[in-house]
């Protein structure tokens, strides 16, 4: 019963992933795509969590944490890029 639930939810998350991919491809603006990518990251966390439940392993918990950090950093980097045109500013102190 539990396994079935897990699989159903996995399929649901995958379908939502498809939707996000559609948004990312379609656009229309870069910001839409960045948000879609961010959401894909969160979705990935969900999928990994579900999969590690299915596989009955705790080996992927680091991946989940890492993904959380990365998708945040990635989104911030993209946002900064869209806003200022560069990711790492230099020469501010000088």
């Amino acid at each position: 019963m539990f396994a079935t639930v897990l699989k159903i939810s996995l399929v649901c998350v995958s379908i939502s992933m498809l939707g996000l991919i559609y948004r990312m491809i379609k656009g229309p603006s870069v910001a839409d795509r960045v948000v879609a990518l961010d959401a894909i990251g969160i979705n990935l966390i969900a999928i990994i969590a579900l999969v590690s439940m299915i596989l009955d392993t705790s080996a992927f918990l680091e991946a989940i944490l890492l993904l959380g950090i990365l998708s945040f950093i990635g989104t911030v980097a993209f946002s900064k890029f869209i806003e200022k045109g560069e990711v790492i500013e230099n020469g501010r102190d000088l």
Partner: protein, 804 residues
């Protein structure tokens, strides 16, 4: 090491010290220090005459690369001895001549004598070697040193041209000869010429026999300036005259003759050998003498005359090859051809050497070699005139000089060739005496031109750069010695017969020499056909010389525009243009094109291999069941990948690429690879950031408007092809697993042996830590490289200090 080895190597040793001597004793002409060597060697080789004349021979071996059968084996029989005497004897005379010819203040004498000694040593090595590979080595040394000597005055364009031409042609022949030698050694399983001669019968039936024969003959023909490879010799006349006299009349151009004579016992069974040598020789004889008549430069006349005389010797060797087929006859008439070849070889070296030296004297004392400017020098240079007369009359074949004797013997051989019943001689054989006769007429004409146009007629002081006078004594001694030899051999030819010629003939035809044969050369042999031929030569030759002005327009028709030099130049230029064209055709400079080549090659080679080996297999037996979410993720990845192709903006492409990377990490999760998933996530993020960085720095040019990738059918086909091929190979290799994976070992031993539970990490740092180390190195290099690329920017054109 025997004394023969030392004799061969001594010129090389002495050559090492020449520059030192030149620096140390600058006031003395370096030639004096060199002169003693050939004299000593000549005396040394003279000592063997008696021994070799008795039918014995000298041989010695010296290990070089014994494991490959390549040894510095020397072997001196009659033929080698004859050549060694020529090389050292004429070498001594040429060096003496060069001492007076080359100015010690204006010329770089040390280079000259180093090259000359290199040449002398390699020529000695060539004629004394018994090992084919060593022979080839010395052969290439002669090509190389000859190249250096021809280009001695390297600041002149014609010298460089001549040197390059001679090198290209002789090295072409040398390389093909090496091929022939290798084939020969395959057949006989030895590199020793002596041992190859012992298996003549077996060699002749070998399938490689003809190929080896042709390749070796190509080498001999190019070196000995046979038609149509003779074109390098006239251009080699840009060399200093001592070099022309030594290399291009007496020694190097006879290396091919030597090779043909040396290998005659191996190849002469074949009718191809006879036909090729005899016809190439006779053609060269006619063409060389015909071309010599139109030349206006003394040395060019002599060059073409050398070509024609070499052709004559070659055709005689060809005719001599027929003797092998007549073992039963008591009096083998074709043996006489070989005798004539050897005799004329000696004669030619003597008279041609003296003629070259005389031409050099004329050049040296008047400043020109052009026979249109020369004339009436008889009273100014009586001794040179005498030398020239002796040499030229001997060359023309007039009695009582030695050329007469060998020409008579030549006619005899050519007439008798027509009586041969083998080799289909009844068809074309009659051409041989006719062509020989025609060639001799032209020989007579140009010999007369050399003497009469230079020394008689009107004296034209206004055309000469210097006031002509007789040469210094030292310059005259060598040609005088050679000219006296011409006369001595002319009057007493039998001096040579038993001492030098008989052993040489015995070496060329070892099978026949068992039967006793005696050579007797006589001036008078009755009213035979060859005597009438000589008379005809003199009559017709004189007639042609007198009417020269009337028929010289013939040369505009033949060779006219069809001259071989033109063809050579056109061939060289054409090859250059052609290769540039071909290179330009495919080297477009676009990476796109090269990638197309690489991928096309990939598709074609792998596709053909799959198809020909019938390797494609598709086996679903051991595949895992496909789960729904795997399908979904695959669809996502595939869609994203396709969408990238049609993305309009680059930013979209980068974002989608990031998504693909994340999806791949999801695959890693699904297939239970946590470490891979972790790494993939981090790396993907970083590379997306890097892509953004690149994107930002793209130049803002109006032409770089963001647009879709243009569709090209070729590219689409190629990319689909690559994908299909890779998929096919992956499927096939998956279906053809041959044995079990070794991963069970790691699973069992990761904890016990290495003390770790994470198998992936244990493999990375323990079982196979070496790979990891070098991957770390790769990353380090990449980081340093990026740093260097960004920081070290040198201004265009100027080199700044990189620490600035």
């Amino acid at each position: 090491m025997s004394s023969l080895h030392w004799a061969i190597l001594s010129p090389f040793f002495i050559a090492c010290f020449i520059p030192l001597v030149y620096k140390q004793f600058h006031r003395v002409h370096t030639g004096w220090f060199v002169l003693f060597l050939p004299i000593v060697l000549f005396i040394y080789f003279t000592g063997f005459i008696h021994e070799v004349g008795d039918g014995r021979h000298l041989s010695a071996s010296l290990g070089w690369i014994p494991s490959l059968g390549i040894n510095f084996d020397v072997y001196a029989d009659g033929l080698s001895l004859l050549f060694s005497l020529l090389i050292t004897g004429i070498g001594a005379l040429v060096i003496l001549y060069s001492i007076y010819y080359l100015d010690k203040d204006k010329e770089k004498l040390h280079t000259f004598y180093v090259y000359l000694l290199l040449f002398m040593g390699s020529m000695l090595g060539l004629v004394l070697s018994d090992n084919l590979i060593v022979l080839y080595m010395f052969w290439e040394f002669t090509s190389l040193s000859s190249f250096l000597l021809i280009g001695y005055w390297y600041h002149r364009e014609r010298s460089r041209y001549g040197a390059q031409k001679s090198l290209l042609i002789t090295v072409l022949g040398g390389l093909s000869m090496l091929g022939g030698f290798v084939l020969l050694s395959f057949m006989g399983d030895t590199y020793s010429i002596r041992e190859l001669m012992g298996q003549t019968g077996e060699l002749a039936t070998d399938p490689l026999f003809t190929a080896s024969l042709l390749l070796i003959l190509l080498g001999a023909f190019t070196k000995s300036a046979q038609f149509p490879f003779h074109i390098w010799l006239p251009d080699a006349m840009e060399a200093p005259t001592p070099v022309s006299a030594y290399l291009h009349s007496a020694t190097m151009v006879k290396a091919g003759i030597y090779l043909v004579a040396r290998l005659s016992p191996v190849f002469a069974e074949s009718s191809l050998w006879f036909w090729l040598i005899a016809s190439a020789g006779i053609l060269t004889l006619v063409w060389g003498s015909y071309s010599a008549v139109k030349q206006t430069d003394l040395k060019a006349i002599l060059a073409y005359s050398t070509i024609s005389q070499l052709g004559m010797i070659m055709s005689l060797l060809g005719a001599g090859a027929a003797a092998l087929h007549y073992e039963s006859m008591d009096k083998n008439i074709y043996m006489a051809a070989t005798v004539a070849a050897v005799f004329h070889l000696i004669n030619h070296a003597t008279f041609k050497g003296s003629l070259f030296m005389a031409a050099g004297i004329v050049d040296h004392e008047t400043g020109t070699r052009d026979i249109r400017k020369l004339g009436g020098l008889m009273n100014f240079m009586p001794i040179t005139f005498t030398i020239t007369i002796i040499g030229a009359f001997s060359m023309a074949g007039l009695p009582p000089f030695n050329g007469f004797l060998s020409k008579e013997m030549f006619f005899t051989s050519m007439v008798r060739v027509t009586e041969m019943e083998i080799f289909n001689m009844e068809t074309w054989g009659v051409l041989f005496p006719v062509l020989a006769w025609v060639g001799s007429i032209f020989t007579f004409v140009y010999s007369m031109i050399i003497v009469l146009k230079t020394f008689t007629g009107k004296f034209k002081p206004e055309k000469l750069e210097k006031k002509p006078h007789e040469a210094p004594l030292g310059m005259l001694i060598p040609p005088v010695i050679l000219a006296s030899l011409v006369i001595i051999f002319g009057f007493f030819p039998n001096l040579l017969a038993s001492t030098v010629i008989e052993p040489a003939v015995a070496a060329i035809q070892p099978g026949l020499s068992q039967k006793q044969f005696q050579i007797h050369i006589s001036h008078w042999h009755g009213f035979t056909i060859e005597l009438y031929m000589t008379l005809g030569v003199i009559l017709l030759g004189s007639l042609l010389y007198i009417t020269w002005d009337k028929w010289k327009c013939v040369y505009h028709i033949i060779p006219g525009r069809l001259s071989l030099n033109r063809m050579y130049d056109a061939l060289l230029a054409g090859m250059e243009r052609g290769s540039i064209g071909v290179t330009k055709l495919f080297m477009t400079g676009y990476i796109r094109t090269y990638l197309v080549y690489i991928f096309l090659f990939f598709i074609v080679s792998l596709g053909i291999t799959l198809w020909r080996e019938d390797a494609f297999a598709f086996d679903v037996g051991n595949t895992a069941p496909v789960r729904l979410y795997e399908v979904i993720i695959s669809v996502i990845i595939a869609t994203s990948a396709i969408v990238i192709l049609f993305a309009k903006s680059r930013l979209t492409s980068i974002i989608i690429l990031g998504a693909i990377g994340y999806m791949v990490s999801l695959f890693f999760v699904l297939f239970r690879a946590p470490d891979l998933a972790l790494t993939q996530l981090v790396i993907e993020t970083i590379s997306v950031a890097l892509f953004l960085l690149c994107f930002y720095h793209l130049p803002k040019l109006s032409s770089r408007k963001e647009e879709r990738v243009a569709f090209r059918l070729n590219n689409a086909l190629i990319s689909i092809g690559v994908g299909v091929i890779v998929a096919l190979i992956a499927l096939s290799s998956h279906s053809n697993k041959l044995f079990e994976s070794i991963s069970n070992y790691y699973i069992e031993n990761a904890y016990e042996e290495a003390g770790g539970k994470n198998i992936v990490n244990v493999i990375l740092v323990d079982f196979r830590g070496l790979d990891t180390m070098f991957e770390i190195t790769v990353l380090g290099i990449a980081a340093l490289g990026i740093f260097a690329l960004i920081k070290l920017r040198l201004a265009r054109g100027t080199l700044k200090d990189e620490n600035e």
